[in-house]
Structures are given as C-alpha cells and as structure tokens.
C-alpha cells in the first residue's frame, strides 16, 4: 500500500514538521527591540517551565517594593486587596489582608450629601490609583503617563526579564549620546531614552525578611510580583495542564490501541 513511502513522509512526520515550522518560525515575533535597545538577559524565574511556581517570599518582597516605591505613581487597577490572599499568590492571610487594606484610603460615595468621600480600604476594594485619571497622572509627570502595572509583564515581550533588566538598567549614556530633556538613559528601553527616572536606589526598601535590598534584588522581586499580578492563575494553569496532558496521553494511547484492534481485519 505504502509504495510512495520514500517520496512522501508519513502523515505523522509531516504533522510534526509542520507544527515545528509554525512554532519555530515564531510567526508571532515582530522586531523585538527597536533601535539600539539591548535584549534583556533571560532570567531563570521560579515560575518558568511547565512545573514552575511562584516563590511566595519573592512575591511578598515584590509587593513591598511596589507598595513603597512604585505605587506613588503607578496604579494597579486590576488587583484587589483580597487577591493578596488568593492561592498561588503572595500568600498573605485573610487577617493580614484585612489589616493591610485598612491602611489604604479608598474613594467611595456619593454619600447622602451627594459627595465622594474617603474611607479605609476593605479586602474587596481594588488598589487605589495615585491619580484620579490619566490626565492628572500626565500633568504630575511632565506629560508622561506612568502606566498601570497590572498587566505589564504580559504587555512586553519577555515581560519579567525585560522589567527586571530595565529597572536595573539605568547607566551613564555612552560617549557622544545626547539624552533629551526630562529623559534618562536606559540600556533596555526602546530608543534608550525613558521618561521614568531610575526608581530604585540601594537599600531603598527594608525587606521584612531581611534580604539585602540591592537594586538588582528589588528589580528582580518586583518583576516576579508583576508576573503574578499579570497572571495570577499561573500555578493553577500549570497544575491543571499536567493532569490534562497525562490524561490525554493515556486517552490517545487507548484510542490508538482500539484503532489498531478494529483495523486489524482490514490491513
């Protein structure tokens, strides 16, 4: 039957090759780093790979960096306080979350006088934004908009690698490079000139767990935290994936065995 085996590879091989072609060519990849920006080095995150998980301590440190440094300008509108106690996240307890939320002021209302008012945060509230709207944010930051950070790790190619590199990537510009007014030189930012001044300084944050707060450490921790804010279901997804893949391998094997049995008469 298979007389042309030599000239046409088996269907299975071709399927594999085709998939490999699609995947390898990375149809999804436009030019990654525009201009002279360097590619961020690949970091071996704890959440990488099919069995990756978040490091709770890392997430808690990252949350601390966000809260004490970044939240002054950057909102995080998709995260609610209660998410900090969700499984697969930083792992705060419900009581800690309640106490933590209460330290924030949240806008609520209108009250019976028709006015908006501030009250202490509750677990169900989202993280409050530092500015009431985008225009106010731009006005306070020389026209540049400090992005909402909830999804930033998925909104950039190589998200967490890029964030960690960028935050620690402020250097002196190379000789002859003129940095525009109000901009700062960064090795990894597209075009090398970023409006955000270097946000991290050594020992800026005193980590609750005693880890030394170098710039690289803080950049690393907050990048991991931002990966969680972008993809809070990461651990559940990979766990479910393992069960599903094992099930499917067994199922496909059974179907294949059944097929061979049923087709035995024909071949």
């Amino acid at each position: 039957m298979r007389k042309d085996f030599v000239t046409m590879p088996s269907a299975r091989t071709i399927k594999a090759l085709a998939v490999a072609a699609v995947v390898a060519l990375g149809f999804n990849a436009p030019a990654m780093a525009a201009g002279d920006a360097e590619h961020p080095p690949a970091v071996n995150w704890s959440f990488n790979g099919p069995f990756g998980t978040f490091d709770r301590a890392e997430l808690q440190r990252g949350y601390q960096v966000y809260k004490e440094v970044c939240s002054a300008c950057h909102s995080m509108k998709f995260i609610a306080f209660r998410n900090l106690a969700d499984p697969g996240g930083p792992g705060f307890t419900a009581a800690e979350v309640k106490a933590l939320a209460a330290t924030f002021e949240v806008t609520d209302g209108p009250n019976d006088d028709g006015e908006m008012f501030k009250r202490p945060g509750l677990p169900q509230d989202k993280f409050p934004s530092p500015f009431p709207n985008e225009k106010a944010a731009r006005a306070a930051n020389g026209g540049a908009y400090p992005l909402d950070l909830s999804l930033i790790a998925k909104a950039r190619p190589q998200g967490p690698d890029y964030i960690a590199a960028l935050l620690a990537g402020y250097t002196q510009p190379p000789a002859g490079f003129t940095v525009g007014e109000g901009l700062h030189y960064n090795k990894y930012f597209s075009g090398n000139q970023i409006a955000m001044p270097a946000p991290l300084n050594p020992d800026q944050v005193t980590y609750a767990d005693g880890t030394k707060a170098t710039v690289e450490q803080m950049a690393h921790d907050v990048a991991a935290y931002l990966m969680w804010t972008a993809e809070p279901k990461l651990e559940e997804r990979k766990r479910m994936g393992l069960k599903v893949m094992i099930f499917l391998v067994v199922l496909t094997g059974l179907f294949l065995a059944a097929k061979k049995r049923i087709w035995k008469d024909i071949h």
């Binding site: 699609v22 060519l25 999804n28 436009p30 999804l151 279901k233 994936g241 499917l248």
Partner: protein, 414 residues
C-alpha cells in the same frame, strides 16, 4: 454488528429507539451519514482526519464563545476590563478565555492542513467542485469571524488591526471613503464599530455551521476522495465509517487535544501579541501592527504591492483564485501521488506560503519584503501558470486499477 446491510440489531431493537425512529428517523439517518451504513474508501490516511477536527474546533469555539459572552461587555469603556474580569474573577474564566483564543489558532492550523490535503490529493476536482467552493466560503467566513473576534478585547492590536484593515476599503474607487465610514459607524474605529463587530462575531459562527452542513451534504453526494485519487469501484473498496473512521478520528482528536492543551496550559500567549494586553489608545500607534499569525500570509501579499488598491485586490485575489482551481488544474489525474512534477511543486507552494507568513510578520522592508514579493509571485504563478501547464505536460505514473487492487495484490503474493 452482524452484517453490513442491516443496522446493528441490538441498538435498533430497543423500544425507545424504535418509538423515536418511527416518528423521526434520526438514528438511521445518522447511521447513514456517519455510521455503519456510510461506505467510506478503505484507504484514507491521517490527512483525512482534519475535516472532523475542524468540526470539533467549530464546536469548541461556539461553546467557549457563548459562555465568555456571559461575562463580556462590548463597550469601549468596559471591554478590556471585562476580559480581565473573566481572566481573574470568573470561575475557570482564564481557562475558557485561553481555550477560545488558542482555539481560533488551532482552527486555522487544522483548516490550512485540511485545505493543503485537498490541494495535494485533488479533492477539488470533479465532481467535488462545489464541495471545494463551500470550503472556501467557510474559510472566508472564518477569517471574517476571527478578525472581528480579535477586536473585542479592545487592546492596542485589536484597535489598530481594525483600523488598518477597515481602512483598506478606502482603496475602492469613488465609494471607498463612504464604505469605510459605513463600516465604522463613525469617523474612526470606536464604540459603534466594537458593538457591530460583537454582534457579527456572534452571528457568523452559526452561518458557518450552516455552510458546514452544506459542505458535508456535498461531500456525501460522492463520498470522500482518497489518497489514490481514484473512484470507488464497489463495496470491496469501502468500509463502514463506523467503527473504522470513528475510532481513527478519535485518535486524531487525541493528538489534536494534546497540541491544543500544550498551548492552553504552557504557552497560552505564544501565538498572540503582547501589545494586546495594553488597552486600546487611539493616540498611540504600536511600533509594528501585525495581525494574528493565520492572517500573516495575506498581510504579506497586501504589502507586497506599493499601491494601496493593488495590494487590496491582490490580497482578496489570493482567495478568489481558489474558486477557479477546479478549472485551472488541467490534469486528468487527481492525486499528487501519481503526479511527479506537481507533487514537488506542491511542496514549493507550501514553502511559499510559509515564506509569506514569515514576511507578513516582519516590517515591510529589506529582505523580508523581498521574500514576501517572491513568494507572492510564486503563489499566483502556482495557480495561474503551474497548474494549467503541469496538467498538460506532465506524464502521470500508472494509476492502480482500483483502491482494493494493491491490497489484493499483496495478499495474493502472501
């Protein structure tokens, strides 16, 4: 299952089944369509699995789509947030969303392979021309559905992809601008556009279901083609669809689900674009606007011509030409297995399509643009020149007398 002519006595003897059958013969109809009473060529290989896989994709997309709509809000101020609500708060929302988004990609992978099978084995040739046309129509409807679906999350690529593609219609002479304004419902892509795309995105899949039914009915007129490309001569060439092809399709489903699950659980955003996690901003254009990967070949064809109208015509022409295929191919032989020249050129065609895909994903300059142009030329050459000429001049190898013949021959040799 005692013999080939009567349905399985066990099932049809059941009193409930008999009661229903007498009033509405669903079971025997199914049996005649996909069951023990549907004779299928006995030599179909795994390339024939992709039709049923495409049907599976359609069902998956519709089911996940319906439940996603329970939580989605089609308004520019809330669309992006509602998708994040699905990802974070809705029970299994993240799973349903990733299934739907990656399911679209899987649908196109499966359909492209299905089409390539048709090209290679001559499934578009008489008497299956109409079957082929219906398939091309399904492809067009899929592309429209996918395009509008991608706009719904209202990310940067949603917005700008919609802007670029709807702007293409301004290339139409005289009425172009009016057509675009009509499509937009305004002076730019905005809320009216989003709302109507939502409505149509929900509608079109059911139109696809209708065309798929016609597609299957057309198929059943003459039955499936087969790898040898020769007609079925009698019952000795066929086997009942059930259980032989039901179980074989099940194997295909298993392999398909493995690949699908790999994307969903381990690389859910690989086939997408990071820029779509940025809310749409009409004032900021992304550095590189790219459509989803399954549109890249057509995007490359569009950009290969400097003239706007030319590019548009060529892009639509790339699909329109598929309708002419049954007449462009002059060969009397269906299957490329017996067409030595055409067989090799089929692979060249595939490489050209991959080349187009590569070019479409890169900025339209330098080497990628050159590759895109070369591949565009070959794409049209393949249909307009290669197929007619090769059909005339090629010397096909000897066809077997029948489907069973090679089997009987080898058995006799034993």
């Amino acid at each position: 299952m005692a013999n080939n002519n009567a349905p399985t006595s066990g099932f049809f003897a059941n009193p409930v089944v008999k009661w229903i059958e007498y009033r509405l013969p669903v079971f025997s109809t199914l049996d005649h369509m996909v069951g023990t009473q549907y004779p299928t060529p006995k030599n179909l290989n795994y390339w024939w699995n992709f039709g049923s896989l495409a049907g599976l994709c359609l069902v998956v997309q519709i089911l996940t789509g319906i439940v996603l709509v329970m939580h989605y809000t089609p308004h520019t101020s809330m669309a992006f947030d509602s998708v994040e609500h699905i990802m974070r708060d809705v029970n299994y929302g993240w799973l349903l969303r990733y299934i739907h988004a990656n399911g679209a990609s899987m649908f196109f992978i499966v359909v492209y392979i299905h089409i390539f099978r048709g090209l290679y084995f001559g499934s578009y040739k008489s008497p299956r021309e109409l079957l082929w046309f219906l398939g091309v129509i399904i492809l067009l409807l899929m592309m429209a559905t996918a395009f509008m679906g991608y706009v719904l999350p209202w990310g940067q690529m949603s917005f700008w992809g919609a802007t670029v593609i709807t702007n293409l219609f301004s290339a139409i002479p005289v009425v172009g601008e009016h057509v675009v304004t009509w499509l937009w419902g305004g002076f730019a892509v905005d809320n009216p556009t989003l709302n109507r795309f939502f409505s149509l995105h929900y509608l079109l899949p059911f139109v696809i279901v209708g065309v798929v039914i016609l597609h299957v009915l057309a198929l059943h007129q003459f039955g499936s083609n087969n790898p040898l490309g020769i007609d079925v001569k009698g019952p000795q060439d066929t086997i009942p669809f059930h259980p032989y092809y039901t179980i074989k399709d099940a194997v295909g489903v298993g392999v398909f689900l493995l690949l699908f699950s790999f994307f969903i659980f381990y690389a859910p955003n690989y086939l997408g674009h990071p820029d779509n996690y940025i809310p749409a901003n009409p004032l900021v254009t992304p550095a590189h606007i790219v459509p989803e990967w399954y549109f890249l070949p057509f995007y490359a064809i569009l950009r290969s011509v400097p003239d706007k109208l030319g590019g548009v015509l060529l892009m639509f022409g790339a699909i329109a030409i598929l309708f002419l295929l049954p007449w462009l191919d002059t060969s009397k032989v269906r299957s490329a297995r017996f067409r030595p020249i055409y067989k090799q050129l089929s692979w060249v065609f595939l490489i050209a399509c991959i080349g187009l895909g590569y070019s479409g994903g890169m900025p339209a300059e330098g080497l990628p643009l050159v590759i895109g142009r070369i591949c565009t030329v070959y794409y049209f050459l393949h249909f307009l020149v290669v197929m007619p000429l090769v059909g005339w001049f090629e010397k096909p190898t000897k066809l077997p007398a029948s489907i069973s013949e090679p089997v009987l021959k080898t058995q006799a040799a034993e």
